[in-house]
Amino acid sequence: MSRPDFYPNPELEKERLQQGFLIGATIGFVVLFLLRWHALASVIFLFSFAHFIGWANYDRVGRGIYVCLNALGLAVGRLITPIALALMYGLAILFCGGLLRLFGMNRLERDFARCKEKDTMFYDAPATQRGDFERQS
């Protein structure tokens, strides 16, 4: 799993702090003026402001803020990732897989008794054309 890189890289860190500020401010305005969720907008503005301070004063406090925000992001990610994965799994695998199995999907040829009846497990290999090398699939 990719992890935040805490090795100092001032250029990259400044760029990310700037991005965080702009994205945070944009989302904050949307939440405040369109959705009118004032409490959430305040929290978002707070984080956006922290990014701004880090970016504008990078030489003095930028790295500290960057590391703190990353550590916070990592902690939140640790909490959210399993939930997001469980949701993805529930919708994409459990639900769809259950349905597909009901309809008899058996690409893996799971039935050993039926496999035993076959003379071979070989299939024709797909042909490769020159253009195929340019694709990942």
């Binding site: 993805m88 597909l100 893996l108 071979t120 699939s137």
Partner: protein
């Protein structure tokens, strides 16, 4: 103008990089040798750096990058497996999805990020085509049957094809999850060894046992077809959807829990290993026969992780189905880097193969070189006393030290590519010494006492010991010792399990396995000039045309790469002498002028 292609294999296991210039392999290395992480699967950043430095290039000067796999096809196979096991695949899903989302589905981005300045195309070969290309395009054959057997690549687990000139075509394939490689890995896990790393331990353990469970396995677990393809009973395995290879039902079937890594190896485990090995060998022979029948070719090229099963390779050779066999020395995933690069050269850029054809692997000496000056500076920096010998004198000295009973760590010339040490990063010892096997296993390599060693034998004398008419330069054929070279057959037949280790089986006991088999590496003066001279000098001193050759590492560590790794390993182990380039470091108590030891010949021992 020269065309350079960088081949990359990564993100599964044994990541590696290779640089091909105008169809010639300039450099190749596995990442683990630099990172010192065994089986390192990360992007091969250091291996790429080495390859580029070897050719004096920057990434911007590359003409193409070739990746050895089709990641989206592999991802679709993974999703399909999860969909077919919706109630049990969450643990594997939870582990693998973040990896796929952050890494494996972003291969072009990762390549761009690691090859700053490169703006050329990225080509993707199919996994089994990379393997097939790594064997065929490196072989000296104009045309050949191709057999790829490994765990899995995209959907394919075994492929048969043919190569002609600069083209290769896969004809048939069997598909996941019915895989010989995965079956063998599952049995490796059952026996308490590491998957994707320790399969060769199962192969080494098998001769101690009897294939008592083969019939049971073939009835309930694995259905072997006449053409070598197979169906697995997935009730006994979890690998299609889980984090473990085996299902508890396999333990119930075999009547015992899987062995934990710290538990002793017992007779039962030897018998299970023998059974798994026997099924594997039978399957490999049938597959080779099917390849012969499908293609009608006279030569065979083998690749894929299962092609590192040298017992199976030897059995295929002895079947006499083919005139000649070429096995890619880096038959596992690392070799895919070479295959992808060569396939790009021959099939994307449509370039001809060299004329005359030859073994493109150059003895597998494709890694970083050892500079004697660098070694001297390093040793001086450590205040370490060392001797220096000329290149002409050194082989004679090394041979004399081996004959005197010393174990030598040899780190000289370009490092080998692939899992075998072939005389550049090797530990050498006297094969006539009955104590050598246990001494090297226990005091130098700190590994299991049952593991056999291989000899490096003069190509011109290999026929005296084995019925072998083709060279085996990459230590990938196991051959039975000739009958006339065997000792104490009746006495040995009565021994069981590890007690077999106590018997003297030949006058080269350190390299004769308990079933009188030997994993052979042949050396000649062209392919391996330095190693050949060492063995030649040893022969002149003792009459014995071989020395023990085992990889220069300790248990669980990658083979040493540079002088620092070699010196560290030397200091940490019971090695007596270290050869670094032309420098020699000696442990206290070693007598460099000691005379050669005498051992009785097989003729004297049999009377």
């Amino acid at each position: 103008m020269a065309t350079t292609i960088l081949g990359i294999s990564a993100f599964y296991h044994d990541s590696a990089a290779c640089l091909v210039r105008n169809g010639e392999i300039i450099a190749a290395a596995e990442e683990e040798r630099f990172s010192r992480v065994k089986g390192d699967s990360r992007f091969p950043r250091k291996a790429v750096e080495f390859c580029l430095a070897q050719a004096g290039l920057t990434p911007a000067q590359l003409d193409a990058v070739a990746y050895y796999d089709k990641p989206i096809q592999t991802f679709s196979r993974l999703l399909q497996s999860y969909l077919e096991y919706p109630l049990s695949s969450f643990p594997s899903f939870r582990v693998s999805m973040p990896l796929w989302i952050h890494q494996k589905l972003k291969i072009p981005k990762l390549i761009d990020a690691n090859l700053s300045g490169y703006a050329g195309p990225i080509y993707f070969s199919r996994h089994h085509e990379s393997h097939a290309a790594s064997a065929f395009f490196c072989s000296p054959f104009e045309e050949a049957a191709l057999l790829v057997v490994d765990a899995v690549g995209e959907w394919a687990v075994t492929s048969i094809g043919e190569g002609k000139g600069n083209e290769l075509r896969l004809i048939s394939e069997s598909r996941f999850p019915h895989s010989l490689g995965l079956f063998y890995s599952a049995m490796t896990q059952y026996l308490g060894f590491k998957v994707n790393q320790d399969e060769y331990k199962v192969m080494g353990l098998a001769p101690y046992g009897e294939p008592k469970y083969e019939a049971l396995l073939r009835e309930r677990v694995i259905d072997l077809k006449k053409d070598g393809s197979l169906a697995l009973n997935l009730d006994y395995f979890q690998y299609p959807y889980g984090l473990q290879m085996i299902h508890p039902r396999l333990e119930e079937l075999l009547g015992r829990k899987a062995r934990a890594a710290n538990e002793p190896v017992e007779r039962f485990h030897m018998d299970v290993a023998a059974s798994a090995q026997s099924v594997t060998v039978e399957s490999m022979i049938r597959l080779a026969r099917a390849a012969k029948n499908m293609t009608g070719m006279k030569n065979l090229c083998l690749a894929g992780g299962v092609a590192l099963n040298c017992v199976g390779n030897g059995a295929i050779y002895r079947e006499g189905l083919f005139d000649d066999i070429y096995i890619q020395p880096a038959a596992g995933d690392a070799g895919g880097a070479i295959g992808a690069a060569l396939q790009t050269w021959h099939q994307v850029m449509v370039k001809p193969r060299p004329n005359p054809l030859r073994d493109m692997m150059q003895g597998a000496y494709l890694g970083p070189d050892i500079e004697t000056d660098g070694c001297k500076d390093y040793l001086r920096g450590l205040d370490c006393e060392f001797l220096e010998f000329s290149e002409e004198d050194l082989p004679k000295r090394i041979a004399a030290w081996i004959a005197a009973g010393y174990a030598i760590g040899l780190c000289r010339g370009r490092m080998e590519f692939g899992p075998r040490a072939l005389g550049a990063r090797s530990i050498l010892a006297d094969p006539r010494d009955p104590e050598a096997q246990s001494r090297i296993n226990l005091k130098i390599k700190f590994r299991e006492s049952f593991r056999p060693f291989a000899p490096m034998i003069l190509e011109e004398r290999v026929g005296e010991y084995f019925k072998l008419d083709i060279p085996s330069p990459y230590m990938l054929l196991v051959m039975p010792l000739r009958e006339e070279k065997r000792l104490n057959r009746e006495e040995n037949a009565g021994r069981e399990g590890f007690d077999k280790l106590n018997a003297v089986r030949s006058d080269i006991p350190a390299v004769t396995h308990v079933d009188y088999s030997v994993r052979v590496q042949t050396v000649n003066s062209e392919r391996n000039p330095f190693a050949w001279r060492v063995v030649k000098e040893f022969e002149a001193l003792t009459g014995c045309p071989m020395v023990v050759n085992t990889s220069f590492n300790v248990r669980g560590e990658p083979i040493v790469c540079d002088h620092e790794d070699a010196y560290y390993c030397f200091r940490m182990t019971g090695l007596d002498i270290l050869v670094l380039g032309d420098c020699v470091v000696v442990k206290p108590g070693v007598d460099l002028e000691a005379p050669p030891r005498e051992f009785a010949s097989v003729e004297a021992l049999s009377t």
